[in-house]
């Protein structure tokens, strides 16, 4: 009679492969995983509660801190939701800059994914290369918004300031150099025997199960579901750009890896189309009750100063109603559901975090796998705890 007793192992909350403060309680039968129970909430900061006590503009910096690896995508989803509530049209230049930055953010987030995912499985070189390249996007972030990570750059109605002189040149340099970098990562991994053995057949989840579990983004496309919000429910002018939506076949970690790599190449294509599309023009909507006046007017005229003060202190009223705005963030569908009671603060602001829902599928994906493969499953889901715990 074989011994059927299982062993319980605690992984995290302080563990390098859990990508933050995630705790997993694993029940093991030898080395085979019988059950995984995630425990989350260690990073809960109450963003939703806080936003009910802040004006609409004051909530934007809170959204940076959700998925801190892709702050501009969070800003984008939030400002789009508020603009939808207001029924605001934003100028074309602002839309184009938003698309460029959202796609560079995707690139930046996927670089962290490939770096940490590869490092977890034992390929250290990729980690160092990817972080070196990520620095170039961080520098662009810093030049444009003043911060490397918490950008707080988009505003309701447009952008906080126009892009700096030389922005086009910097973006062009990224467009020119990044395909070569991605070739390097592929060269290091795609035919690497260890990488293939660790990823092929790992964390399989069928298309049906993936939809049932609510997985979105590249993890869902890796399971063969051809669905991308940028193409299917376009926002902020994505309908103007042509790009491919990569889809996997075998529903495993390797296919999700391939999907994300193609996505990085497609992101570069979108950026280069958008850069050609970038024409001079206003960066803020023509809605004085909502957007800040120009700095010139704030500093040089009493009307401008009063105007600025009024929006900064009081905010702006938003019509009563409720909207949901989903955007294709690097990790999946990021949604903002805002209920307004007609005041200057959201009555309720709900963030639908992609990582939270994707992580809930881990039980299904890791069951029956070896314990060493669990880090590959966490890596392929591409989670970030700032967004899960909010």
């Amino acid at each position: 009679m074989a011994n059927k007793e299982t062993m319980t192992v605690n992984m995290g909350p302080q563990h390098p492969s859990t990508h933050g403060v995630l705790r997993l309680v694993i029940e093991l039968d030898g080395e085979i995983i019988e059950k995984v129970t995630p425990h989350i909430g260690y990073l809960h900061r109450g963003v939703e509660k806080l936003s009910e006590h802040r004006t609409y503009h004051q909530t934007i910096p809170l959204t940076d801190r959700l998925d801190y690896l892709a702050p501009m995508s969070n800003n984008l989803g939030y400002v789009l939701a508020v603009e939808k509530l207001l029924g605001l049209q934003i100028p074309e230049r602002a839309e184009t800059v938003r698309v460029i930055l959202a796609e560079l953010t995707r690139l930046k987030s996927h670089l962290v994914w490939i770096a940490c995912h590869a490092l977890d499985i034992g390929a250290m070189t990729v980690f160092i290369y990817a972080f070196r390249e990520r620095e170039k996007i961080m520098e662009l972030y810093e030049k444009i918004s003043g911060a490397r990570m918490t950008s707080n750059y988009f505003r309701v109605g447009g952008l906080s300031s126009d892009v700096y002189p030389g922005f086009e040149k910097d973006v062009q340099e990224i467009i020119d150099t990044f395909p070569g970098y991605i070739d390097t990562y592929e060269g290091l991994l795609t035919k690497n025997t260890i990488w293939l053995q660790r990823t092929i057949g790992n964390g399989i989840i069928s298309a049906e199960d993936a939809i049932d579990a609510g997985i979105t983004g590249p993890a869902l496309r890796g399971s063969g579901v051809d669905w991308d919000l940028r193409r299917d429910n376009p926002y902020t002018g994505y309908e103007k750009y042509s790009f491919k939506v990569p889809v996997g076949e075998k529903c495993d970690t390797f296919d999700r890896y391939k999907v994300r790599l193609i996505e990085m190449r497609e992101a570069i294509k979108i950026v280069s189309q958008a850069l050609k599309n970038l024409k001079p023009g206003p960066i803020l909507a023509d809605a004085p009750q909502v957007v800040y006046p120009s700095k010139e007017s704030t500093y040089n005229s009493i009307e401008g100063l009063i105007h600025h003060f009024k929006i900064a202190s009081e905010g702006f009223p938003v019509p009563e109603g409720e909207v949901y705005q989903g955007v294709e963030a690097p990790k999946g569908e990021l949604g903002y559901y805002i209920v307004s009671d007609g005041g200057n603060k959201p009555y309720r602001m709900r963030v639908r975090p992609p990582s939270f829902v994707n992580l809930s599928a881990i039980e299904k994906m890791a069951k029956g796998a070896m314990i060493a493969d669990l880090v590959a499953v966490i890596g392929t889901l591409d989670i970030v705890l700032g967004e899960i715990d909010r």
């Binding site: 989350i40 909430g41 809960h44 109450g46 939703e48 509660k49 806080l50 009910e52 006590h53 939808k84 509530l85 029924g87 939809i211 049932d212 579990a213 609510g214 979105t216 579901v225 669905w227 299917d232 429910n233 109603g321 409720e322 909207v323 949901y324 989903g326 569908e333 949604g335 559901y337 209920v339 009555y347 309720r348 709900r350 639908r352 939270f356 829902v357 809930s360 715990d389 909010r390």
Partner: protein
């Protein structure tokens, strides 16, 4: 118009007695229903109308109104690429609703979060525990009568006051 929405037409045929209100705002259709048949309604939306992805489950607290809570289901149809919002009324005196985990398993964690932060019980939920707050936490932080600074503390008056 909301009346021409494909889901609204079918829902009105099938669940006329349960529908409280149909509203359209900024192109988004919201159907408010009574909570008794929520599982049947969700099952119908999923199987007959192909709303196969449960995007989100959350709640809104309308303190001082009756019913106090609305549980909000944001659903999406991948084949038809459209969204629908279903809201179910939950009163404070009977603060519970049936779980939809049998329809979409996504609801598992999302409902746990609503339970944790709003204190709405989901009947027949397989694993209803707190998820973001600690197990021994008292109160439900996203309720409107829960103070921002936490219980038993002086309200924060700003740095300069």
């Amino acid at each position: 118009m909301a009346e021409n929405n494909r889901a609204v037409i079918k829902l009105k045929e099938r669940f006329a007695a349960d529908i409280v209100e149909v509203k359209e705002f900024r192109g988004e259709v919201t159907v408010t229903v009574k909570k008794e048949n929520i599982v049947e309604i969700c099952n119908f939306l999923k199987t007959t109308l192909a709303y196969n992805l449960l995007t989100d489950v959350t709640a809104v607290d309308y303190l001082g109104q009756e019913p106090r809570f609305l549980v909000v289901y944001n659903i999406y149809s991948i084949p038809n690429k459209d969204r629908l919002r279903v809201k179910a009324q939950v009163s404070e005196s009977d603060c519970s609703i049936d779980t939809v985990t049998k329809v979409w398993s996504t609801a598992d964690w999302l409902e746990r979060e609503v339970f944790d932060l709003f204190g709405i019980t989901f009947n027949n939920h397989p694993d209803l525990r707190r998820i973001l707050m600690t197990d021994d936490w008292v109160g439900h932080p996203l309720r409107k009568d829960y103070p921002l600074q936490g219980p038993d503390r002086e309200p924060y008056k700003g740095r300069l006051s």
